[in-house]
């Protein structure tokens, strides 16, 4: 079924099936995703996601900007983990152009990226519970997320679409207030996670809504190129931070939460447990934070990348980000392909939704955790 087929006057439906246009304006499609559903009662027979409502041509913009000028853009792809996309862009260019980064800057980047991962997961957790009809956890999560923003705001200068990393470092050093505030926050969030555990994880309604719903097997996940929590919920312990460590991640001890069932509950639990692991990473990074500069003495403005192609992977909150950079030696990238995790993660949706209920659509879509501007770029 295609949108054209739906408009085709000769296209007939049987007596008891109908089309439902879910989105692009719908409370639970998380942005501007449009799902064209063919339903029989409440049972879904077919699903066709229609994308591109927030396509801004980011890859085209990249071709027309210098490496430095493209810096604020990646954060607008996945606006919920902007620091990570920002970091990924810098890593890709630094690797290709051979720019060295002071160790303290890498530590700060990792601390901020992990904080951003927590805030992204918190927002997802709240929004997911709201999809399932529980409004209150949403606001608890926002309260916690607000603390993260309060921490990051003085350092990065923004609240959501951060542009903090610079080639060869970060824009601003962190201070003692940040460190003490962060330690207090870690303590507070651990307490909050216990509350969420009582309020949500053990809740019989929540478990019934998510268990055995939208099951993705490991083979299916591989066939569709899933990464991130969606893949780890299916029993595969693949995390770029472990498989191909970048930045200073090899120095930290952390676990990769893995659940084997592949259903919505497992994906939920993976993200929930990841928050604790991120806290662990932050704690270790704070303990070992080295002294020194956070940016090169002379800021890197003009980047020359030797001609050739480069690939850089990064673990964002939603999975593996891949930046495929083709350079012709000029000031601008010749081609910059962003492989975003949500794009592949969402592609499994039409298959997952077949023969589920409308209520499950929301549960499954929410558990995949897509950010539409990231998919549309």
């Amino acid at each position: 079924m295609t949108p054209q087929a739906m408009l085709d006057p000769t296209h007939t439906l049987s007596e008891d099936t109908f089309y439902l246009n879910m989105g692009p304006q719908h409370p639970s499609t998380h942005g501007v995703l449009r799902l064209l559903l063919r339903l029989s009662g409440e049972r879904i027979l077919e699903c066709d996601p229609v994308l591109g409502y927030s396509h801004r041509g980011q890859e085209h913009i990249a071709q027309n900007k210098t490496y430095l000028q493209f810096l604020p853009y990646p954060g607008r792809m996945d606006y919920l983990s902007a620091l990570m996309f920002n970091h990924a862009h810098c890593l890709a260019v630094e690797k290709a152009a051979g720019i060295a980064v002071p160790e303290r800057a890498e530590y700060i980047r990792v601390i901020c990226a992990e904080l951003n991962r927590i805030s992204s997961h918190l927002l997802w957790l709240g929004a997911y519970l709201m999809d399932l009809g529980a409004f209150t956890p949403f606001l608890y999560c926002f309260d916690d997320r607000e603390d993260i923003m309060d921490l990051l705001l003085p350092v990065t200068g923004s609240r959501l679409t951060y542009c903090y990393s610079r080639f060869g470092g970060v824009a601003k050093d962190i201070d003692e207030t940040f460190v003490t505030g962060l330690r207090a926050f870690i303590k507070k969030l651990r307490g909050r996670l216990k509350d969420y555990d009582k309020l949500v994880n053990k809740n019989v309604i929540f478990i019934n809504r998510t268990r055995d719903v939208g099951v993705i097997s490991a083979d299916m996940a591989r066939a569709y190129g899933l990464t991130g929590p969606c893949l780890r919920g299916s029993g595969v312990a693949y995390d770029v931070r472990r498989a191909e460590p970048y930045s200073v991640y090899p120095e930290f001890a952390f676990e990769i939460p893995v659940r084997s069932g592949g259903d919505c509950l497992d994906r939920y639990m993976v993200r929930f447990l990841e928050m604790e692991q991120s806290l662990r990473i932050i704690e270790q990074a704070l303990d070992r934070l080295p002294q020194g500069p956070v940016a090169p003495a002379k800021p890197v403005r003009v980047v020359k990348v030797p001609a050739g192609d480069y690939h850089c992977v990064y673990e964002s909150a939603r999975g593996q980000v891949g930046i495929y950079l083709v350079s012709d030696g000029g000031k601008n990238p010749y081609r910059m392909k962003w492989r975003v995790p949500s794009f592949s993660n969402l592609s499994v949706l039409p298959k997952l939704l077949v023969n589920t209920l409308v209520a499950d659509t929301i549960a499954i879509l929410g558990s995949v955790d897509v950010v539409m501007p990231e998919i549309d770029r």
């Binding site: 409370p27 639970s28 009809g133 309260d143 309020l199 309604i205 809504r209 209920l357 209520a359």
Partner: protein
């Protein structure tokens, strides 16, 4: 002609006059009560969620809902073109009309009841189940797929939850040996029925929550799935009538619960309507507390819950009650 009417009026029994008076008073009470309940709901939700809630209009924001009502009052009434016009317009009226009738038999106090009918409880259940017709008509006539899905869900849900609701109420009726509210409250002279019938009380409260389409059983409107369910296409005062009916229904089921299980107007120190209202609002608070805590059940799980858990347990409870009563008597 005039003389005829006067004699007709004179020939009406005092009961009818009390009823008319009662209905007028109830109508006023319904409005004030709904305004208060909406305010309470928003305040409870806000404080559970670490927010302040309405705080600007009037003391503690008490007049906020009044202002919202006024806003809805002046809003444009939109009727979708493909809607079935007559049914679309009539269903908000239909949903609101039956919520007034139960006030005739609600026992606010020993002397504060419009009419104590011997079959008072039946009357309430009969009228409470009429809401579903209005929802079905409203959802269907909107000619909106979300509204239709909401209407279908509503019917299935109502059918499933009427039964445990009635079964649990029946156990109380067996104990009181009457369907009149005065008798039922009178039978709770010493001990409230909730202590004899805790299972029935819990089933009644769950069923009542489902009956009034309150979260976690709000699947007919299920905001995150069906946008706004059966009232997706309603705006302005028509929407407000659905809203008003929902909150009044909440008051009615809580009142019935109070009369059946919590001793009605009886309380320590001085019996009276204040005890009745206090108990009702405490029950409503619990219902709100539940709403702001739990996720929503899925449509089929709701059915499973009703048919596989609530109905068998309610039936077992009813049989046990009957058996014990037979043995004791």
């Amino acid at each position: 002609m005039q003389g005829l009417m006067q004699s007709a009026a004179a020939s009406l029994s005092p009961t009818v006059w009390t009823m008319v008076l009662g209905l007028v008073l109830s109508l006023g009470f319904v409005q004030v009560n709904a305004l208060f309940l909406v305010w309470l709901e928003r305040k409870v939700a806000a404080h559970i969620q670490l927010r302040i809630g309405p705080d600007e209009v009037g003391p503690f924001g008490l007049l906020q809902t009044l202002m919202d009502g006024l806003k809805l009052f002046v809003k444009e009434l939109i009727t979708p073109k493909p809607a079935s016009w007559f049914l679309f317009v009539i269903s908000p009226v239909l949903v609101f009309a039956p919520v007034l009738v139960p006030f005739v038999v609600l026992p606010f106090g020993q002397w504060l009841q419009v009419s104590d009918m011997p079959e008072g409880m039946l009357l309430i259940f009969a009228f409470a189940s009429m809401t579903v017709f209005a929802i079905l008509l409203g959802g269907w006539s909107s000619n909106n797929k979300y509204a239709l899905l909401g209407a279908i869900r509503s019917v299935a849900q109502n059918v499933a939850y009427e039964i445990p609701l009635l079964l649990s109420a029946m156990s109380v009726v067996l104990m009181a040996r009457s369907m009149s509210f005065q008798d039922i409250v009178g039978a709770q002279q010493g001990v409230w029925f909730v202590f004899y019938q805790p299972v029935a009380a819990i089933i009644y409260l769950i069923g009542a929550t489902a009956e009034t389409n309150r979260a976690p059983f709000d699947i007919p409107e299920a905001e995150s799935e069906l946008v706004a369910g059966f009232h997706t296409e309603y705006s302005g005062m028509r929407f407000a009538l659905f809203f008003l009916a929902e909150y009044t229904n909440m008051f009615i089921v809580a009142s019935v619960a109070t009369a059946l299980f919590f001793g009605g107007w009886r309380g320590p120190f001085a019996d009276g309507p204040w005890w009745f209202l206090l108990k009702v609002y405490v029950l409503i608070f619990v219902v709100m507390w539940v709403r702001w805590t739990f996720p929503r059940l899925r449509f089929d799980q709701l059915m499973v819950f009703a048919w596989k858990y609530m109905i068998p347990v309610a039936l077992a409870n009813l049989l046990l009650t009957a058996l014990v009563l037979k043995l004791v008597a």
